[in-house]
């Protein structure tokens, strides 16, 4: 995967000079040492100086940028890459933020729906009341007696 990415980034620039290739490579690599995760082009430790020299040596020996990136990845591990490779377990690094975003939006939608939902109309059941009938009958009877 990393090789494919490297190839796609360098395929159209094969004819450019070594300076460009060095800039590309140091931009893709990071320091693992004193200034950890600092891009190689701004890292000034002795180890970073050695790495930049090694890149120059390998380019001068005719190695392609993607070969050099692969060498660094094999020698120092995936942590040396500015971007984690999009494959294997590290694919989660790329997927999880989107999964989190979708889950967050889904939760928000559900909560908002619940908050804005109108309460269902309550149907009042009007069952005939026996006591009301009795009262009415008694009232009428008493009124008749009064008359």
């Amino acid at each position: 995967m990393q090789e494919a990415r490297g190839k796609s980034q360098v395929a159209g620039h094969r004819s450019l000079d070594a300076g460009w290739a060095i800039a590309l490579l140091v931009g893709m690599l990071v320091s693992l040492l004193v200034c950890e995760n600092v891009p190689l082009d701004v890292c000034e430790t002795q180890a970073c100086v050695q790495w930049r020299d090694l890149i120059r040596q390998k380019l001068a020996a005719g190695e392609k940028p993607e070969q050099i990136i692969n060498y660094f990845q094999a020698t120092y591990g995936d942590r040396v890459l500015q971007e984690p490779p999009r494959g294997g377990f590290t694919v989660l690094v790329w997927i999880l933020p989107f999964v989190g975003l979708v889950a967050g939006v889904a939760i928000l939608v559900v909560v908002l729906r619940r908050m804005t939902a109108q309460p269902a109309p309550v149907q009042l059941e009007t069952a005939p009341s026996d006591s009301a009938d009795e009262y009415r009958e008694r009232l009428e009877r008493e009124l008749e007696e009064l008359e």
Binding site: T45, A47, Q50, W51, D53, L54, A74, T75, Y76, G77
Partner: protein, 189 residues
């Protein structure tokens, strides 16, 4: 399906999703906790030394006659594991003593193993030649060995006894007297 049954099915579905969501969150928390624990781990000072296989630099196999060396295969011998790098200034201070002690103890059942941490091969080979190092040495390929020992820099050294247990950890350059004392003690056990 009756309305009651439909409601019951919907309720069960919702419960399953809740359990799945809870398990996912618990898994995430667990993964973060393990990550944090691993990050805060320090160098082992006792117990079984983490096993590793080191692919040695050409010409730096210490006379073993094979390209790789595995710590577990050295059980029965006292092993001195030294993490170093050519760009490390303090490593240069201890290097002559290490080579001298190795030559003194190599016939007594002691093996020295140099693990080159985040280094470039040309610079490392130049360094090894400069100090005339003759014990097994190789790069920490893929930076896989150093995390097992949780080293924080170089030089750092570990002494492993015949049973494969760590008996000494040194975070700074080790001097000759200190190393000789530790080796004698380990050999006497």
């Amino acid at each position: 399906m009756s309305e009651v049954a439909l409601r019951s099915t919907k309720k069960t579905g919702r419960s399953i999703w809740r359990v799945v969501a809870l398990l996912a969150v618990a898994g995430l928390v667990m993964a973060l906790a393990l990550q944090l624990r691993a990050r805060n781990a320090t160098q082992p000072t006792s117990g079984v030394a983490p096993d590793f296989t080191l692919k040695m630099y050409p010409g730096y196999d210490g006379g073993l006659g094979k390209p790789e060396i595995r710590l577990a295969d050295l059980r029965g011998q006292v092993v001195f594991v030294n993490f170093w790098a050519s760009w490390c200034v303090p490593c240069r201070d201890e290097q002559p003593a290490l080579e001298q002690v190795w030559r003194q103890y190599r016939s007594k059942g002691v093996v020295f193993v140099g693990v080159d941490y985040v280094d470039t091969e040309p610079a490392a080979l130049k360094y090894l030649a400069e100090f005339g190092v003759s014990y097994p040495n190789g790069p920490d390929l893929g930076t896989k060995i150093s995390p097992k020992y949780h080293i924080q820099g170089v030089p750092e050294s570990f002494l492993v006894d015949r049973q494969g247990n760590i008996v000494l950890f040194k975070i700074a350059p080790i001097n000759e007297a200190e190393l000789v004392t530790a080796l004698d003690h380990a050999l006497a056990k």
